[in-house]
Subunit: 340 residues, 2 copies
DNA sequence: CAACATTTGGCAATCGCTTGCCGATCAACT
DNA sequence: AGTTGATCGGCAAGCGATTGCCAAATGTTG
């Protein structure tokens, strides 16, 4: 049981095994592997060979413990099963991997408490955090950003690096589109009450509508799920508008289903516009007119910004804000306003 | 710079800070926090109080290094943006969280090499691994399972704990359904060549068809994405069958779109059945008849099995195999066979 | 009251790796 | 030849916990 012949007989090889076999000190092995220039080329070659032969893999824990860098970045999303976040997950994963980092995905269950708790736990175990659509207060976020590298997405906080997807801009396009189809009365179908994005979208909606002289209504708030679509559809119908813009595609798709159930034709009776252009928006029935955003790219940008904080070498100029452009994608769910 | 007053002035508090403030040794703090019975109730209370006051959070790295347990379980999926995996991700996340573990999500990019590499890296940094739809060989998987706790999903390997979703059973139901609608000639739209699930589905399809005396065709292989749907649809049309069963819903949904483009009516001209009942299968056009599986539950079961390996206390009897039942969900994409 | 068992807390070694500091080696320059 | 600088490798001190072992304190029993 006390066997420790330090060769290839025991369990997983450590840096010590490599050092012994290569006839050098562990410090040299360490350097050869993570700071190549600090060691003679021949020595390094030998060490690499031995390491490969032993199938040596450095312990992330030990490395993290002694160096303080974990090589891990956490991504906090409200709901991993919400398709909107898929592309963010993918975009960040991609970029992190390219930079040699590992992604830790955390689902905050749409709850500020879970989020705060996760942030606490994470403080020690990752190099940085990306928070998507955070429900925390500005103060909490600012405090978090002060104690560790952090980037928020779709949630602007003063002095905290942020990537926002500029949906408000597309809302203008969306309303123009509706107006050109003859709509004069439009309803905004609201998302979650505490959502920053929702507030921004509503504001943009309000302002653009006013500029266009439209009559507007607002219904909601609704949870951003297809299952909320029924209530949202009914409320919209009751508002009397001929068209509506929904907080997001999930809601819009749910509404589509409800309209169908009730025999309300889309777009003949009512036009509907979603937001995000998620998976499914193109093949639902009818296909959804929606505001398309470069979500995956936004994820990559967020990681670039974070990496910029972690490693000054990246020198991306330490931007504090990135705004991703969006545009309207017209499909089948919008059409001429019904008369009367 | 050399400040280290060990109280609350420095940086993040360590176990040592807690120990000093509480007037005990670090070992006692450690025990109080992770082995409560090993310490006097009063001492423990005091320590807990101090820890709370200092906002002390144990370092996962240090803990992992000295104890050998990381508290992390990795989930390897071929593609994080494939909706089929969403529920697995959610199911495992849920169950892991409940047991106090952290989930590490890894995207293997549908590649055996990436998978093998990730497995290597992970060997040292997590307590166990769940591999979904692995592309590795039986030998590789067996070896991996021998060197660390591991559970596979939708990939049977002798002597490796596995959770499989019993789609083949539902394929029987699906064919019965088609036969009852008058179909006599059916095409199987194949998934990825190396996929174990695909092989099983085909075999089940073949056998059930034979029992029913059906004429069958096979097209493919196709990557399991909606974008492969066009080619799949065209090939299916060319096969001359009046109905088809697709490897999965993604493919089926893509085919639906292509059929529409080509003016082929579903289900009047051709019936189509998907597999998995993913997000979107209920609101595509027409809604997809598909084989529904308890995916999230399967994820939870996988974690239970893994936890059983990690901690004998769980004593789930160390099952080696769990088979999740599936059933056919009939929606609008299947109908009576066209005549002629 | 002595002898023994049980709690309870501390000491110190460890886990595997990084890194500041130092000394040896060797080439280049004056 | 002597001095100066690089370059390269080793020593050893941590990083922040866990844990085996031991001793003091406390409790139990005859």
């Amino acid at each position: 049981m006390t066997a420790n012949t330090a060769s290839s007989n025991g369990k997983v090889p450590t840096i010590k095994d490599v050092a012994e076999l290569a006839g050098v000190a562990t410090s040299t092995v360490s350097r050869a592997l993570s700071n190549p220039d600090r060691v003679n080329a021949r020595t390094r070659a030998r060490i690499e060979e031995v390491a490969a032969q032993l199938n040596y893999i450095p312990s992330t824990q030990a490395r993290a413990l002694s160096s303080g860098r974990t090589g891990t970045v956490a991504l906090l999303v409200p709901d991993v099963t919400n398709p909107f976040y898929f592309d963010i997950i993918r975009g960040t994963q991609y970029q992190l991997k390219a930079a040699g980092y590992t992604q830790l995905l955390v689902d905050t269950e749409e709850s500020a408490d879970v989020e705060a708790e996760a942030l606490q736990k994470l403080r020690r175990s990752c190099d940085g955090v990306v928070m998507v659509a955070s429900r925390l207060s500005d103060e909490q976020l600012a405090a978090a950003a002060a104690s560790q590298p952090l980037v928020t997405m779709n949630r602007g906080v003063p002095n905290v690096p942020t990537v926002i997807i500029d949906t408000p801009a597309a809302i203008g396009q969306a309303l123009d589109h509706l107006v050109s189809l003859g709509h004069r009365e439009v309803t905004y179908v609201g998302g979650p009450a505490g959502s920053w994005s929702n507030a921004r979208r509503w504001t943009a909606f309000e302002q653009a509508s006013e500029a266009l002289g439209l009559t507007i209504h607002r219904v909601g708030p609704f949870p951003p799920k297809t299952t909320s679509g029924a209530a949202a559809a009914d409320a919209t119908l009751h508002s009397g508008a001929t068209a509506c813009i929904a907080y997001n595609d999930l809601l819009a798709i749910g509404m589509l289903q409800r309209f169908r159930e009730r025999g309300v034709r889309v777009p003949e009776d009512v036009s509907i516009i979603g937001c995000d252009d998620i998976f499914g928006a193109d093949f639902c029935n009818p296909p959804l007119t929606t505001m398309t955003a470069p979500v995956e790219q936004a994820g990559r940008v967020a990681i670039s910004m974070l990496l910029g904080q972690l490693n000054p070498l990246y020198g991306t100029g330490n931007r504090k804000l990135a705004v991703m452009p969006t545009h309207l994608t017209v499909r089948g769910s919008t059409g001429p306003a019904r008369v009367g």
